[in-house]
């Protein structure tokens, strides 16, 4: 599963990527996380707040570090 984390490299963006890695490991899912830090690409997804998460080409979350349950819902 491919998940993109959008954000200009701030602390919350890192926390988001870490959260996804942790939840995926706990659930035994293989995920590939791509961090997108280039502002033009981030804006291209139409998000106004970061960190944002893209799963399967769709923005599923933006503006905060997602919760454990939210991440789990994307993985299944």
């Amino acid at each position: 599963m491919e998940i993109k984390v959008l954000g200009p490299g701030c602390a919350k963006c890192k926390a988001t990527a870490d959260m996804i890695t942790r939840v995926a490991a706990g659930a035994g899912k293989a995920v590939e996380i791509e961090k997108i830090e280039d502002m033009r690409q981030i804006v291209g997804f139409g998000v106004m707040t970061t960190p944002a998460v893209v799963v399967g080409g769709k923005v599923v979350h933006k503006g905060s570090v997602p919760s454990h349950d939210q991440v789990l819902a994307w993985l299944t």
């Binding site: 200009p8 701030c10 963006c13 804006v43 139409g46 998000v47 106004m48 707040t49 979350h61 349950d69």
Partner: protein, 354 residues
């Protein structure tokens, strides 16, 4: 409460009252503790082997009273602000501002700048999101100037340390500067001074709304308030202690009337000097305001001090470096010039009035 059907992770209704009762209990305890801060601070100060009226005694009492007071006020105000902000979102703000004419748009944008939740690392995508949706450049600037200038940390600290009159004055003039500066920038028609790639997005289609906002319950909003408190405290507690520590030293040791000569209303050059010194300083409101309060106590003029504070908070170099991604240097210079002029005007006005 039919939203329960669509959000399975929604907490069970019977837990809601726990939150409501908890909130009421918290505010009650808060109120009781807040009333006891002075006697407790005096009692602890008396334990130190120093005279109460000595330099050290004054500094210790100031520190012991002001640190808990500011922390408590900050908790309450940040929580309330977090709950209020849950009613706003960048997407709604954009929808409200899109196509608004200048004038009305600037006023609305400044107000929404205070209410819309976003962190400084989102300034660039937010800027582009607004401009690309057809929000005029000047209106966008009103938003971006008001957001950091009139923030809950600044208001909580001003309210706690300097008093509600100065806090309100600061908020009012912060908004006025944001409205007028944005309006002026709009009049100058500087859309051509955006970075090229931003202009391209500007002329293209508007970005689609990514995610619809999930329905929010009251408990959900409380959670966001708690989250805001935790996040802001993590960021500013060091600054508050450092700032109040500095303020305490000034209180105890700097002689009266020294500041009146350097930062008093008679020294006309003190206002521009305060702005120039303030720009490269990067601390947030939490670090500056305790120092500002102590300077006021030593005879510094209110206008000079307000100008200094606004320059530190609203015109910071790091923010300009972030904005460099979307604005050309010329446009950043205009932005700094217009906002700086507004701050100077507020400084002189206050020195003249008070």
């Amino acid at each position: 409460m039919n939203a329960d059907m669509t959000t399975p992770s929604h907490p069970a209704p019977r837990r809601d009252w726990v939150w409501h009762v908890g909130l009421v209990a918290f505010v009650a305890v808060w109120w009781l503790v807040y009333g006891q801060l002075v006697p407790v601070a005096e009692w602890i100060t008396a334990l130190f082997p120093v005279e109460r009226d000595s330099h050290a005694g004054k500094a210790i009492a100031f520190f012991l009273y002001d640190v808990p007071k500011v922390m408590m006020l900050l908790t309450l105000i940040v929580f309330a602000m977090g709950v209020v902000r849950s009613y706003f979102s960048p997407e709604r703000t954009r929808a409200m501002l899109a196509g608004k004419r200048e004038g009305v748009g600037n006023v609305l944008a400044a107000g929404l700048g205070v209410m819309t939740p976003f962190c400084s690392c989102s300034a660039v995508p937010l800027f582009i999101g607004l401009v690309s949706a057809g929000v005029p450049l000047g209106v966008t600037f009103s938003f971006l100037i008001a957001a950091p200038m009139v923030n809950e940390v600044a208001l909580a600290l001003l309210f706690g340390l300097v008093g509600w009159k100065v806090a309100l004055t600061y908020a009012a003039f912060g908004l006025i500067i944001a409205i007028l500066a944005g309006w002026v920038i709009g009049k100058l028609k500087l859309e051509g001074w955006l970075q090229d790639w931003v202009r391209d997005i500007h002329s293209g289609a508007t970005a689609p709304d990514a995610v619809d906002d999930a329905p929010r319950t009251m408990v959900n909003r409380y959670r966001l308030g708690v989250e805001a408190v935790r996040e802001i405290f993590g960021r500013v507690w060091m600054w508050i202690i450092l700032g109040i520590g500095m303020g305490a030293l000034i209180h105890g040791y700097v002689p009266e009337a020294l500041m009146a000569r350097i930062m008093g209303a008679d020294a006309w050059w003190s206002v521009p000097a305060a702005v120039l010194i303030g720009i490269p300083m990067y601390t947030n409101a939490a670090g500056v305001i305790p120092i500002v309060e102590a300077l006021l106590g030593k005879g510094a003029a209110l206008g000079t001090v307000l100008a200094f504070m606004m320059a530190v908070i609203a015109l910071s170099l790091p923010e300009m470096i972030i904005l460099k991604q979307v604005l050309t240097l010329r446009l950043i210079a205009v932005f700094a010039g217009v906002v700086g002029t507004g701050i100077l005007a507020v400084g002189y006005l206050f020195n003249f009035l008070f």
